[in-house]
């Protein structure tokens, strides 16, 4: 073996360093493992009703019940599937409308008041995202009753956070030069926005809206669980009547819808960018 002539001082420094790093890494892993162990103990080991599971075959049999299809449900699926799709579309459009003012308030460079309205805009963005869509749906069901309308409102509210945040960030990142040019020709506030800012942000905003619409199809599929219309309601009913084949049918319909949304948004995004 070849011998390498190196400064022994550096060698000992290096091995010191490496030993210390080894110990540090070991400690970090130990802490992570201990934490996960604590969580598993608290949630799975102590919190599961082990006596009800009744062995491996019981679990498999329970899951196996879902591998049948209740084809008779097909005719009942069409309307709710369509409704789910329409809820996602209307909810997204409504969300865009709500997002416009929020983005305007929450973009530091165009906000009408930096001290008052900017924080308000930012707060609305966080509020929209921190409340789960099901919780929004519950709120709106209690406000406007059962049906698709509370679902649409819930989806719109839940969409505002993401769309307005991305839009506000796009506005903050624009190139100020065209804005200056439109001001210089005597354009009004709206024209500055429409000619100076909009052309710069619309590809980002459109891509975001398409993405959000894609997500909203998933969201509107579960809205019915709390009575806010769409496939979720059907799912809930099948589950309550222990019709496992029917549950599978609904899940299949949701899957189809999501694949459809995925395909459409793929082509839309391509068209935009």
């Amino acid at each position: 073996m070849a011998s390498f002539d190196v400064n022994p001082e550096i060698v000992s420094q290096q091995s010191d360093l490496r030993r210390r790093r080894f110990l540090k890494m070991g400690l970090i892993w130990l802490v992570i493992l201990a934490f996960i162990g604590w969580c598993v103990n608290g949630t799975i080991i102590e919190d599961t009703d082990w006596s009800r599971i009744g062995g491996r075959s019981g679990v498999l049999a329970s899951i196996g019940r879902y591998f049948t299809l209740d084809l008779g449900l097909f005719s009942e699926l069409i309307i709710p599937t369509l409704e789910t799709f329409m809820m996602a579309c209307v909810g997204t459009v409504l969300g865009c409308f709500f997002s416009l003012p929020v983005a305007w308030l929450g973009a530091a460079n165009v906000t009408p008041s930096k001290s008052l309205l900017y924080p308000l805009g930012r707060f609305l963005m966080v509020l929209s995202r921190s409340v789960h869509e099901i919780v929004w749906a519950l709120i709106f069901v209690s406000a406007v009753g059962l049906g698709a309308l509370p679902g649409i409102l819930a989806i719109a509210m839940r969409s505002v956070g993401f769309i307005s945040k991305i839009t506000a960030e796009a506005i903050e990142n624009i190139d100020a030069k065209p804005v200056e040019a439109i001001r210089a020709v005597g354009g009004n506030q709206f024209q500055v926005l429409y000619y100076g800012i909009l052309p710069q942000i619309y590809p980002v905003v459109l891509a975001t809206v398409i993405f959000e619409w894609d997500i909203n199809i998933r969201r509107s599929a579960v809205m019915g669980l709390v009575g806010a219309g769409g496939l979720g309601l059907l799912f809930f009913r099948q589950m309550n009547s222990f019709n496992y084949g029917g549950v599978s049918m609904v899940i299949l319909a949701i899957l189809m819808l999501i694949i459809l949304g995925e395909v459409i948004s793929h082509y839309l995004r391509k068209a935009v960018i």
Binding site: K177, V185, Y195
Partner: protein, 250 residues
């Protein structure tokens, strides 16, 4: 008759920040092609942006076309800006729009909000845009996107846009700094010819002294917010230049 009279102009960008312009006086006459020269950071861009209040002056008065610029309310200011064509160092075009739409945007000050949403400019505006696009030599590029053009071509779009305003004063902010020497000269010549043709006085920031001497009839030298020189181009001596650019040596 002076088109533009600036008196004791002072600017600072923030209350505690340094004073960028420290009391500037000058006039632009109806037939002037006036150059403002000076080292980087002398306040040239700030000065030119005060004229149409893209930058708010903190002191002094500006009289443009008989109006006290600093006293105007937002609507009056927009009306005044329509009369002032501006050409920028980096062209300031709307990149995602076509050359034609960029040129038409010069008429936005005269176009109602609703019409501007649909880019429904009047037929006169469209004809005028086509005329000026031809004048600046871009007839073959009308429907291209602005970001497909070369630097020199983009500046020509900027010139056509400014002309669409039928300006009574042209402001040029380093119109050639982003261009190579040959194109710079072409662009300057084009602007000068058009300014002569339309009889528009022009105020031009420029750091290239050679170009200033070649194209401008009068020169103002700025240094660190003070006016160091103001006179006809022929009277600018090397000693004056050394004085103006003295600080840049450091």
């Amino acid at each position: 008759m002076a088109v533009l009279t600036v008196k004791d102009l002072k600017v600072r960008y923030s209350a505690k920040g340094p004073e960028i312009l420290k009391g500037i006086d000058f006039e632009v006459m109806g037939d002037d092609f006036l150059a403002i020269i000076g080292p980087s950071g002398a306040g040239k861009s700030t000065l030119i942006r005060c004229v149409n209040r893209l930058v708010e002056p903190t002191g002094g008065t500006i009289n443009l076309l008989g109006e006290d610029v600093c006293a105007l309310n937002p609507r009056q200011l927009r009306n005044l800006r329509r009369n002032v064509g501006m050409i920028f160092q980096e062209f300031n075009l709307i990149n995602r729009m076509s050359v034609m739409d960029n040129v038409l945007s010069g008429r936005l000050g005269y176009t109602g909000t609703l019409r501007s949403v649909f880019r429904a400019f009047s037929q006169t505006d469209v004809n005028q845009a086509l005329y000026y696009l031809d004048r600046v030599g871009l007839s073959d590029h009308i429907n291209k996107r602005a970001d497909e053009l070369s630097g020199g071509q983009r500046q020509r779009v900027g010139i056509a846009r400014a002309l669409m305003q039928r300006p009574k004063l042209l402001l040029l902010d380093e119109p050639t700094s982003a261009l190579d020497p040959k194109i710079s000269r072409e662009v300057m010549a084009l602007i000068r010819d058009i300014a002569l043709e339309l009889n528009v006085p022009t105020l031009c920031n420029i750091h290239d002294v050679q170009l200033a001497k070649e194209f401008c009839n009068r020169i103002i030298g700025l240094q660190d917010g003070y006016k160091k020189f103001d006179g006809a181009t022929e009277t600018l001596r090397d000693a004056d230049l050394e004085d103006i650019y003295a600080m840049e040596v450091l």
